[in-house]
């Protein structure tokens, strides 16, 4: 019964996310205005004409939020895919091969974890110049360490399971054991970690945008909408409220789904 209730929450969160994804995917269909149209009255409060009001350019905040969902969600998704991919490969390699390879990779992980990562992100962002793709890559490349550690630990534990021994007995080759037996059994916890990582990536994107290094205008992401709103906190609180709440809601839903998944897998 308890479990059911919890899962219901996760299911609800998942539906919210799905809805957002649909809106993002079909943004032109949902957005009433061109998100770049600066012709309207600036800083107009929410009304029937502009559900979320207009921003300092007179652009429709609702339309921008809809298009922003595209950017924010895809930044989160791609960034996390990169970090999971890198972490996964390095984790598998070090877990499976062990020895020198493992210690080299794990020392590298230690080094990466010893950084105040914000400096690394700032510096790399400065090298690459800010744009949406680089934001994805940078967030991805500075957040893979947790996954690598997790995967390595999982590989080490899966390696000890009887079915791996059984696979050896029937004569399965090394690569076969790696790809058919170890990999599929490591993926589940990685999915959970990836889900939670996506929440982190969305937050990081918004923080980067806050520092002016995130997604650049005229593209809108929730992060840079928040940044634009800084100056108008008091004149147009809706400009800050809407993207702030959207980030909060999205991240919250992702956490809830992640938690649901964790319980599902943990049984």
């Amino acid at each position: 019964m308890k479990k059911f209730r919890r899962n219901k929450l996760a299911v609800a969160a998942l539906s919210v996310l799905a809805l957002m994804a649909v809106v993002a995917l079909f943004a032109p269909f949902f957005a009433p205005y061109d998100p770049g149209d600066i012709g309207k009255t600036a800083l107009e409060a929410p009304s029937m004409l502009h559900f979320f009001g207009t921003d300092d350019f007179g652009r429709d905040v609702f339309s921008r939020a809809v298009y922003g969902a595209r950017i924010s969600l895809s930044v989160g998704l791609v960034a996390v895919s990169i970090s999971v991919l890198v972490g996964f490969v390095l984790g598998i390699i070090s877990g499976y091969f062990g020895g020198l390879t493992e210690s080299l990779i794990m020392r590298f992980v230690d080094i990466m974890l010893s950084f105040p990562s914000i400096f690394l992100i700032l510096a790399v962002q400065a090298i690459l110049t800010p744009n949406i793709y680089n934001v994805m890559v940078i967030i991805g490349l500075t957040s893979w360490m947790g996954v690598a550690r997790l995967v390595r630990a999982e590989v080490l534990s899966v390696k000890e399971r009887p079915y791996i021994e059984a696979a050896h007995v029937i004569g399965a080759s090394g690569p076969r054991i790696m790809f058919r037996h170890i990999l599929p059994n490591v993926i589940a916890p990685v999915i959970v970690a990836g889900t939670l990582g996506m929440a982190g990536a969305i937050l990081t994107e918004s923080a980067l945008s806050f520092l002016g290094l995130g997604v650049q205008p005229p593209l809108s992401s929730w992060g840079n909408m928040l940044q634009d709103s800084q100056a108008y906190l008091r004149d147009a609180p809706w400009m800050a409220l809407i993207p702030g709440l959207l980030i909060l809601l999205t991240v919250l839903c992702i956490y809830l789904v992640g938690e649901g998944l964790r319980e599902e897998i943990g049984r």
Binding site: S114, A123, G244
Partner: protein, 324 residues
Amino acid sequence: MYKHVLKRLVSIIPLLIGVSIISFFVMHLAPGDPTALFVDPSVSPHELARIRSNWGLDHPVHVQYFFWLKNVLRGDLGTAYIINRPVTELIAERIPATLLLMATSLFFILLVSIPLGVLSAYKKGRGLDNIISVLSFLGMSIPSFWLALMLMLLFSVKLGFLPSSGMSDPLLADTSLPGKLADIVRHMVLPVLTMVIIGFAGLTRYIRSGTIEVLGQNYIKAARAKGLSERTVLFKHALRNSLLPVITILGMTIPDLFAGAFIIETIFAWPGMGRLGIGAVFSRNYPLIMGIVFISSLLIILGNLAADVLYSVADPRIRTEGKD
């Protein structure tokens, strides 16, 4: 034990070298250079080239690195550009503010998350647990700078009873020591509050799951069977053991605290190291950046080491064996 600590201490060295190499080269790969700050219509490029060479920037990067490393081994982090002061001095000036902010926040984070985590575990699945869980998920989901701005808006602007920025009020410079301290405390409320709201959530979740696990273990059942009160079971037996992994988690939280403090410092104009560092990145003040990265990494690594040592000192097996 001491051997273990010594071994870990030695292992810090390659870590630090790795950190410094990566940050040094990443920073120098970034386009732009510190002299760019000087540009206005009246400064000629020849002057900039002259200053670059005064700063040693015309050497190849690896030569610059070894030069830097040599000085570090002598305990000298170099002289910051433009400001022209020793990096160690600049950091020493700023680090107390950052540490004060971090330590206070950490204290309150622990103060909040330990009871919440334990209660949540104890009432697992019931109303209170759900409330605490939702609260902590909310805490994890709020963008920190957004929260900071909202708090500033509420407490400084609307209600007007807390200062919005800085660490002390210059107009109170002549007051007595207690007055000054009270002033600093007032300035700390908002930044600390922000950091606690952002930071308590993760820890609460960890403590919750740790306690749930401990509560399911045999010696707790035994303690209950012995007829000890729930409170004793919960806080004496369960808590003690569920907190041990928290030590490790705390070690791992330090980088997050740093990152958090850096953004918070920028918003609340807190005169700490993070603000200094972010400014240094933008102005490509290499010696200063290197110094700050180096010192922060050192603190992070030492924090982890301390957590590690503490953990092995308080090894749960030793305790439970003694107990049951």
